[in-house]
Amino acid sequence: MLKKLLSTTILASGLALSAGASAQTLEIAVPQSPAGLDPHIITAFASFEVVNGTIYEGLTALDKDLKVVPGLAESWTVAPDGKTVTFKLRQNVVFHDGSPMTAEDVAATVRRVQSKDIASPLATRLAAVENVVVKDPHTVEFQLKEPSAPLLSSLSTLAMVPKSMETNKEALQKAPVGTGPFKFQEWQPNGFILLTKHDKYWQQGLPKLAGLKFNIVPESATRQVGLTSGQYALVPNADPATALQLKGKPGVKLVETLELAYTLVGMNTSKPPFDNPKVREAVNYALNRGEIVQAALYGAGVPGGPLSPALKEWAVDLAQYPCYKPDAAKAQALLKEAGVATPVAVTMSVLPRQDIKDIAQVVQEQLNKAGFKVELKNQELGQFVQDWRNSNFDLFASTNAGSADPDDYFYRTFRTGGSTNVFKYSNPKVDQLLDTARSSLDQGARKKAYEEVQKELACQGPVAHLAYGTLFSAARQNLQGYDILANRQLSTLKNASVGQ
């Protein structure tokens, strides 16, 4: 009886499967259910992954090398004083609710993000914008308080929403409305999120798929089996452990790129012992980043400094940082110079994520060999975040998402009083360089300033940058046209199709 039931259901499912293949809705397996989908309110990666570049787009976009290219704006001009940026919008952009996108929507979107009532965490990215003026239905002018070099890159992550949503706090959390290649269809919490093709998408002939179905599959082993058995066609942004287990499985292919996200050890510069730059430098000498990559990241990554090597335009070659050559003896000498009693007893809070826990253990061992005595503090996420925010730590091991423009990361993290400067780091030289680079529109001058910032931060800064991991996506062999992006966006899925 059971056998018969099994065989008939297998037959039935075979039929269902072939029917599904012609409709070409891509079955994607993601680990976490998003808490909400409003692009201006969300902060979790589980949410970004579903909406950015799929449902939503910005005025600008980033290409595969993370360079700014036209998005919903087909072109723009910057006034000579750098304080006015005029965007020319595309004519044929239509929101998922059927209304055409105009300059009014752009102005409303900016007002929405800046409004106190919405309390959007993106507001600081638009801090430089004083006013947005609608010139004509397809021309919009951004008036700035001061010139802002990172603005164009920031606008790529500023999701355009219809003006009807300007003061609505709840609708988009449940049912997002954007201009992207896929539109929101259905959300079964903890089950799946279904997006379907946006028929009036502004790019001719795209998207090729009929839709995307984000299945929420919390267990990594289940995602693996689902992919090898063909129930899922894509496991995007997988961790190295999962990806390497899927390597070489029949019907499965891996796509990889170097991540913008990095792992780090943060140091509290507001109290001993890490208020002393020499002690921070000692940490950098004590670390062996190559060993960390091998031991904790399964070799899937590269050692890195303050900026990801993926940002070829900006990142300084590691050979230029003397402290990146592991030297425990030098570390101990520095501790002696600093005049601290050895072993230096400190605690390190650890972000509760497996790769970070692994990294923390390697770091602990390396630091202990060089005159420290590190105690690991494994915390629940809520507690970790709270301690992080309140600067309640000696050291912490964590990860950070990184961004395409250095200003996005550096300014808020290392500028005196920066919003995520939880290290309480204050260095007038760095402050000045960051201010210059932010308002300068000369690419060469920015590059030079950021080079100096990187060198200033690498050995004595409040963060010992550890490694940039390799980011993997695992897909069925027949998924074509999908490309993995270093910022983890799934925007290339608009070009994807399922072959035979």
Partner: protein, 316 residues
């Protein structure tokens, strides 16, 4: 008599619900970690003023007593509030998640508790023989294998043997009955196996006890068939501890369901609670735990009623 039992039970239920509501309310607020900080996650750019605004937006800036009274008052009127950040009504959230768990629990119970009676009787009848020993070893194995491990192994096995069989996720029965059953088979098996192992051992020993009683000898002496002796006379007496255990286990099944739902990607109550706790979604945790509590109390109530049906002495 029945009405008195019912009234007493309802009074119990009200007390339990009140107690649980207070404990849950306090407990989840004692977990370290601030709901707003968690919602924002690590490394988000936010000023303290923005955080205060967010806190005010969801009413977490009020004193705890005010928060409790507000919530309890609304809950008494049948309004469980809205999920902290999505604004989705909590009641609707629970309703969509309760069916998969209910279905999974019932199927697992049906499989585990249902099979336990014949298996347990068989073990008692073949006591000491090869079949009994084999089944007892199997039962120990069934007890000790954790559901999540069994679940993953089952998924792997099925992926090898029948790769196109849809074993992951959930589709509502009304939408696709076959697909629903297909996806429920493995998780119900993984969840029900420990129940089967546990209960069949219990039935076995209860039956052995009953079979040694005088009235069984009498029944045999008057010439009743072996089947009648075992399944009518002995079984009925052996069932009391069995029913008590089934009642308790239904509660534990909910706990097991959390793990199995996680492995098989089923959007049930367990996943809802886990997610709600992780994001400190207070209204959602409070309401979900209340629902589970009420469910547990109701099951025990049904068990009490069943005693009366099986054992006339309880009725008196």
């Amino acid at each position: 008599m029945f009405r008195r039992l019912l009234l007493a039970r309802l009074a119990d239920l009200a007390m339990v619900i009140f107690g649980v509501s207070v404990i849950v309310f306090l407990m989840i607020r004692l977990i370290p970690g601030d709901a707003v900080a968690i919602m924002l996650g690590a490394n988000t750019e936010v000023t303290p003023e923005r955080m205060a605004e967010l806190r005010a937006r969801v009413g977490l800036d009020q004193p705890m007593l005010t928060q409790y009274l507000r919530w309890a008052g609304a809950a008494l009127r049948g309004d469980f509030g809205t999920s902290l950040w999505t604004g989705r009504p909590v009641a609707a959230e629970i309703l969509t998640h309760v069916w998969p768990t209910l279905e999974l629990t019932l199927l697992a119970l049906f499989f585990g508790a249902g099979l336990a009676i014949p298996v347990g009787c068989l073990m008692a009848q073949t006591r000491g023989k090869g079949a009994d020993v084999a089944m007892r070893v199997a039962a120990i194995a069934g007890l000790t294998i954790p559901s999540f491990w069994l679940g993953i192994v089952l998924i792997l096995l099925l992926a090898m043997l029948a790769p196109t069989f849809p074993s992951l996720g959930y589709v509502p029965f009304g939408q696709d009955p076959i697909g629903n059953i297909q996806r429920m088979l493995l998780p119900a098996f993984a969840l029900g196996l420990p129940i089967l192992a546990n209960l069949s051992r219990l039935v076995r020993s209860a039956m052995l006890d009953a079979l040694g009683q005088d009235y069984i000898r009498t029944a045999r002496a008057k010439g009743a068939s072996e089947g009648l002796v075992v399944y009518k006379h002995a079984l009925r007496n052996a069932l009391i501890p069995y029913i008590t255990s089934v009642g308790i286990m239904t509660g534990y099944l909910l706990g097991g369901a959390i793990v199995v739902e996680q492995v098989f990607a089923i959007p049930g109550l367990g996943r809802l609670i886990l997610g709600a706790i992780a994001e400190r979604n207070y209204p959602l945790i409070q309401a979900t735990l209340l629902v589970v509590t009420v469910g547990f109390v109701l099951v025990n109530f049904v068990v009490d009623l069943l005693y009366g049906l099986i054992d006339p002495r309880v009725r008196g």
